[in-house]
Amino acid sequence: MTAQALQQRDLAVVIGLEVHVQLETDTKIFCGCSTESADDEAPNTRTCPVCLGLPGALPVLNEAAVEAAVKVGKALDADIAEETRFHRKNYYYPDLPKNFQITQYDAPICADGALEVSVEDDRREIGIGRAHLEEDPGSLQHEGGSIETADHTLVDYNRAGTPLMEIVTEPDFRGPGEVRAFLAKLEEVLEYLGVFDASRDGSLRIDANISLMPADEMADDGSVDEAALEAANRTEVKNISSHKGAEKALAYEVTRQKNAVERGREIEQETRHWDESRGITVSMRSKEEEKDYRYFREADLPPLQVADWKERIPIPELPDARRERFREAYGLDAEAAAKLTSTKEVADFFEDVADRFDAGLAATWVADDLLGELNYRDMTITDVSGRLDEFARLIELVDTDEITEKNAREVVLRTMLDEGHTPEEVVEREGLGKAGDDAVAAAVEAAIEENPDAVEDYHDGEGGALNFLVGQVMSKTGGSADPGTVNGLLRERLDE
């Protein structure tokens, strides 16, 4: 379609994604090297002949990577291949130890799945064409500049051989917001499965294909004719590394392309690089021809029969189902259910607490207090994974009336997070144990004794006098008395 013709018509946006996800396994996909990433790790130390691609070394498939892929396939409601096999993708690039990548071609481990996402109030189903396993290349460090200006480039093979899953969606997205929602949901699902760590550098890498189409060529249900899509010039945007980045990059691209069309310019078929720091996409190369990767079977890896793996490998309850169940079983509202299922660890902790104490108390304490205080400190639940039983004990202290909610919230929880103490230590140190009946009664007596003016005001019907006396009692008991109880006791004594 010519630029002029496009110019006359309303435009619709069509986006498809290729998402590369690092799978969390103990060892690399074809060797025994650790995948543990340490920031201070020296380059090329987490390597062996296999992931270095030394002459004569052979790959051996890490079945844990296949298991992780099967879990992803199940969560995406995909078909799992009966037999999984590997191909070589041949191309030359300095970060590729063998100048070919072991990947999957004609028999991807997962095919034909879908992921449902909510965009505003809309439910959208995004089709997953395929998802396959492959090895990560090494990483390049351009010394003294960017890829274009560097004096020389160093290669670090620590990353080489990390298991990657490439998830290829159908061109089902109609805008950058949907892409962001999909990626956030995908990350959430992958974390629930325990196969993904979003905090890891480079754990998520996204290539997006974006085309502008005449809106009237789209079917009413939003589906798009394949031939029409082929005819539209497609832009591939690379180097996106987060769901927020994806939304920004694609929003930029939509604007750039619409502007071009409005000015009557042709949109070129090309690959563009997302420059996160500048917030723009930059042309890398025009795509006149498809690359020829000369795929052929990797004979060093015999096919693996995985027909029964789908049944054999369980996956945990996924976030959507869990949210729904939390609402029903614990009577939570949508917002609390969403907060309490934001990660699997939060949901597990909530459920543990809710089953032991009152569900409402558990919801308030986990969703509002704990997550709120963590958030305030830029922490997440994973930062306190090892201390969850301490937080449960804190809730227990409240539930059994041993400390007041106010003290629990404002003193104990905060001190626990800031100083790393157990709840018992904080209660002990701050003397927060609820005052006994005798001590409260004595404080009530003393307050009445010491404040005859206030007593008189009370009898004269001044409302503020009682509050003043309650405050006196609270201060005498170090805040450890229950204000309601104090209030009752004072009235009882004054009304005698």
């Binding site: 002949p49 691609g53 030394l54 002459p55 004569g56 070394a57 052979l58 790959p59 051996v60 498939l61 070589r88 041949n90 030359y92 300095p94 130890p97 063998k98 100048n99 070919f100 290669v155 498809e290 020829d292 000369r294 052929f296 079977r297 004979a299 060093d300 890896l301 015999p302």
Partner: protein
């Protein structure tokens, strides 16, 4: 007087004790040896020192063997004469004006010249059996998956196996006993045949053995070779074996299919030699693409470049189906032919090479003629089967090899039959 069998002579002492404690072993220079350079006969790897031992080297050392050096070979195994080595040719100890065969020519020559008791070679399309035949020694190409390839620098990884060379069938079988068996570092190795005790099969007892002779593997062979082959069959019949003709109709496509598959795999296997970590220093100026090209231009010899180019072409879009896919079909048909022939016979027999050893320099200018000399050996690799070449006397003073082919993991049968040829 040296036949130039070695690229690197260096002694690596194995364990004090073991089945090979009194044996010296020469190792083909495409089998990785920790701390000892492993060149594959190529300028590209002239300075490459592996940090690890191949599994077979580990097993030889554990068995008490003394490694005496790394033997000459056609560059990356690509040749039938050991003349494409960047380190110069090896001479045939039987007749120094002749080639020792290839690509494991250095290993065969070392054994024939008595410079090592036994040797390891690798056989992608005949590279153990051809030099064994030309130098008058025994060479075994094991079933694909019997011997670990971990540490063998790949030429065509779906076809090749490491195999032993020795003066006698029993000597080769003793080495096979040490190196055979599964390896967790090579996913294509199998449990089958791990504890077969191959040396004990070399008992010369062929009473009642049924030998199939594929007519297609006799046609076109040199008359002098056929004469020695027929005489050997007579001898086996005299010892109680029975022979009959069988047919392998798909074998006429074997050489074409072999070269398409081998070159395709080679184009990928050799891609890693790009100058980043291996290869000569060049004065290439420009981007990494130019630098890769320059290193490969200078580091590889002509035959290697020829095969990489042809293999790249065969895998390319638009040609993949025409060449690579068809070659895979031919490979499947050939396997079926072998299955049928071996259903009617215990083993199959043919001349190992259809020709006598070439004069040095004779075949270099005509690669196609050299490829056709592999007609009897490549079908075995395409079908993943075991085969042995055993000396069958001489013609015009030059050694002739007699090839026996077995069923998958049927090494004991071919070892037994081959030991009868020695009688």
């Amino acid at each position: 007087m040296s036949v130039d069998a070695f690229i690197t002579e260096e002694t690596i002492q194995g364990a004090d004790d073991g089945p090979l404690a009194d044996r010296t072993v020469a190792i083909k220079d495409n089998i990785s040896t920790a701390g000892v350079r492993t060149t594959c006969g190529s300028e590209m790897l002239a300075d490459y020192v592996p940090p690890y031992d191949a599994t077979v080297v580990e097993r030889l050392k554990r068995a008490g063997a003394t490694l005496v050096g790394k033997t000459n070979m056609d560059e990356f195994g690509m040749g039938t004469t050991t003349e494409t080595s960047a380190f110069g040719p090896t001479k045939n100890p039987v007749d120094e004006s002749r080639v020792p065969g290839g690509s494991s020519g250095g290993s065969a020559a070392a054994v024939a010249a008595g410079e090592a008791d036994v040797a390891l070679g690798s056989d992608t399309g005949g590279s153990v059996r051809c030099p064994a035949a030309f130098c008058g020694v025994v060479g075994i190409k094991p079933t694909y998956g019997l011997v670990s390839r971990y540490g063998l620098v790949a030429y065509a990884n779906s076809l090749e196996q490491i195999g032993p060379l020795a003066p006698t069938v029993e000597g080769a079988a003793e080495v096979l006993d040490v190196i055979a068996g599964p390896d967790e570092r090579d996913a294509t190795t199998r449990e089958a045949g791990a504890d077969a005790d191959y040396a004990s099969a070399a008992d010369g007892d062929v009473e009642g053995l049924s030998i199939g002779v594929p007519t297609e593997l006799i046609e076109g062979a040199d008359e002098r070779v056929i004469e020695r082959f027929e005489a050997t069959l007579d001898d086996l019949r005299a010892q109680g074996a029975e022979t009959h003709e069988v047919s392998l109709p798909s074998v006429e496509r074997a050489v074409q299919a072999y070269y398409v598959i081998a070159m395709s795999e080679a184009s990928s296997n050799l891609a890693r030699f790009d100058g980043v970590r291996y290869g000569p220093e060049t004065d290439a100026d420009g981007n990494w693409n130019d630098s890769f090209a320059q290193v490969r231009e200078e580091g590889f010899g002509d035959e290697v470049k020829r095969r990489i180019l042809l293999g790249t072409y065969a895998l390319s879009a638009g040609y993949h189906d025409k060449y690579y896919a068809k070659a895979q079909d031919a490979r499947a048909w050939l396997k079926q032919d072998f299955d049928e022939a071996l259903a009617e016979a215990d083993v199959l027999a043919s001349p190992t090479m259809p020709v006598l050893p070439f004069e040095l320099g004779e075949s270099l200018d005509d690669p196609l003629q050299m490829y056709l000399a592999d007609a009897n050996t490549v079908p075995v690799n395409l079908a993943n089967l075991p085969a042995v070449s055993v000396p069958a006397g001489r013609a015009d003073g030059l050694p002739v090899g007699f090839q026996l082919i077995g069923s998958a993991f049927g090494e004991r049968e071919i070892i037994r039959a081959a030991s009868a040829v020695e009688n």
